[in-house]
Symmetry: C2
Subunit: 370 residues, 2 copies
């Protein structure tokens, strides 16, 4: 095999697929990037068997072929090469020569045919939306998935395509994040649970371009994302997702509207006093026109007031401030509206157009918390 590419194109290609190289695997060939130029087009592929990425790399194919190269070494070399034309050449012993100007690297590759290729994903069922839109939907919900594998379903996000709308749901037992967007055109309905890890890699490699689109294809076992000549293919999580609709309520007895920036900064300050290993909730006291926030810990006390507009009853309720901070980061409105019923009931944060709904469970306020 012999290909000639620009350093910058190689960099883009290797950075894209690197996300699918496993940290640990029992199949050493998967530590490699596969370079495939048999079809006169250059593709880089990496695959950890849960998640696979294939991307087209610009360049000239001088001799078609296929070779697998240790992804980390290959990436390190490409990152340190000067800008310019790079020749990558492999011989029958799978020795790879990488030449750029007067620099020559020689490393041992592996036979490309041993590489585990990506599964075929039928394009029968699909939706298309803007890259920016998908990226925001994921960013604004992914924080609410669980990191620990105690409940596999909670580590993924629920995708639902129904009635011309695309909805994403994440929950971890303490909070729920729901975002939805309208789809343009007619689409097949469907639902699936996508691993959180896949989505966190998508966040890293998907550009936030509002003009360009990304297509999602889904089968019973896989989802594929296609954008800018890159395919990301992931297994789905098996099982039935939680019945979200039963957890969401529109009732409330207290409603406040608050400046998001002020609220965020205050919540952020309150975390200073939560480093003692004896974490106390932040206590929100809602009265006419005012939200008072208090934290008391062995390290000290914080007390702060924020002007709000309020409807309904006064209320005192406690929260883990980190959960509220995550939501404030995921919302981009200047003012947010919060709905409460009792100190034991969830708080809802949602907008009028139902673009988003966030739910957070409160923390019981005891004598010791105050």
């Amino acid at each position: 095999m012999k290909i000639v590419c620009q350093t910058s194109d190689l960099l883009t290609g290797v950075n894209t697929v690197l996300k699918a190289v496993p940290v640990r695997t029992t199949m050493p060939i998967l530590y490699c990037v596969l370079i495939d130029s048999t079809t006169d087009t250059i593709y880089f592929t990496a695959n950890d068997t849960e998640l696979g990425i294939k991307t087209k790399v610009l360049g000239q194919v001088e001799e078609g072929g296929i070779i697998a190269i240790n992804a980390q070494i290959f990436s390190d070399i490409i990152h340190k090469l000067p800008q310019g034309q790079v020749t990558i050449e492999s011989d029958i012993n799978d020795v790879v020569k990488i030449t750029c100007e007067k620099a020559l690297f020689e490393i041992n590759g592996q036979n490309g045919v041993e590489f585990v290729g990506l599964p075929e994903v039928s394009k029968e069922h699909s939706i298309t939306l803007s890259q920016f839109n998908l990226k925001e939907l994921i960013r604004q919900t992914l924080f609410a998935t669980a990191n620990v594998e105690t409940n596999k379903l909670m580590t993924g996000e629920y995708f639902e395509i129904k009635d011309g709308r695309f909805k994403i749901v994440a929950l971890d037992g303490h909070r729920i994040a729901i975002r939805q967007t309208s789809l343009e055109g007619a689409f097949d309905e469907g639902d699936m649970i996508v691993p959180g890890k896949t989505l966190s890699e998508i966040l890293k490699i998907l550009p936030d371009d509002a003009e360009k689109t990304v297509s999602l294809y889904f089968t019973d076992n896989h989802i594929a994302f296609e954008f800018n000549e890159t395919f990301v293919i992931s297994r789905l999580i098996e099982g039935s997702y939680f019945k979200i609709d039963k957890m969401i309520s529109n009732d409330y007895t207290t409603k406040i509207q608050i400046n998001r920036k002020q609220f965020s900064e205050c919540l952020d300050r309150s975390t200073l006093l939560r480093k003692s290993g004896n974490d106390k909730p932040i206590i929100l006291s809602i009265s006419d026109g005012n939200l008072n926030l208090k934290v008391s810990s062995p390290l000290g006390k914080m007390d702060e007031d924020i002007e709000v507009s309020k409807e309904g009853k006064n209320l005192v309720i406690g929260f883990n401030p980190d959960f509220l901070i995550d939501i404030m980061r995921a919302v981009d409105d200047e003012e947010v509206t919060m709905f409460f019923t009792t100190p034991q009931s969830p708080c809802f944060i949602r907008d009028e157009d139902a673009r988003y709904i966030y739910l957070v469970l409160p923390i019981a306020i005891t004598e010791g918390n105050y």
Copy 2:
């Protein structure tokens, strides 16, 4: 005590002294920043008993006094406060109230009189140079000090003031770095060994302003740096420094002049193949007009040529590339000159004006290295 300052001035102050707060100490009071406003001027002080920093903070003293506050908590709070006017107030129980707009923090301080003050350093012996100049001298030599405490002298830098010149020397047994500058005016002569840790903190807090000056005061046991109303006071390392002059030679049989950027980038690339735990030297083969660089390791091979201008004999010599990389970072000339004698003798890198001399020991080339 009651003082009123701007958030930004508090930030500058706390960031400056934080470098002298110990990570671990048997004297808990030293985890604090001392705020002293007894003289109608506000000073922050921190002191780990080896290194102490005292800095003036702008602000109004409404009630003079002295209080010690846990440095980490105080710094965290200041960093999270909004921009604006901050009031810091302590009562007779050493409870500290920090107020900024509608935010109030209340934390427990400690009695300021328990704090270990900085030693007095006589200003009898001193030199003055530009902040930029001192910072560069330190940056360009500090890498050559030893990190491990097996030889205490090697962890410090040797400062020599003699014949109107200020010279800094660092060495770690594999290499030597020497930088010197002329002093303007008449100065007392002297020499001392300054702890590397002190100098690395100085690098962080000394601005690189060529217009402003820094003064150094030295006694038998201490050195003090004074700049921008900040004092940094450090103990000296006791002992006699190495006889440097005997290690430096002006003889050579091979001399090359090389483009620093090209050489640096090539050395940088060569480190890629040194991650196998079986590190091989980089082999420099010097011939007329050409420097060939080769590395061979279990991971692969690198081979590269750089054009040089050469005088004297051909030579093949091996080095730890990291040592050469450090020197190339410390030199700012576009072209550097390297002097060699035999494959077993040190290589010297120096300029014509003797502003700098760097020495590196080679690594023996054996069959296995090639």
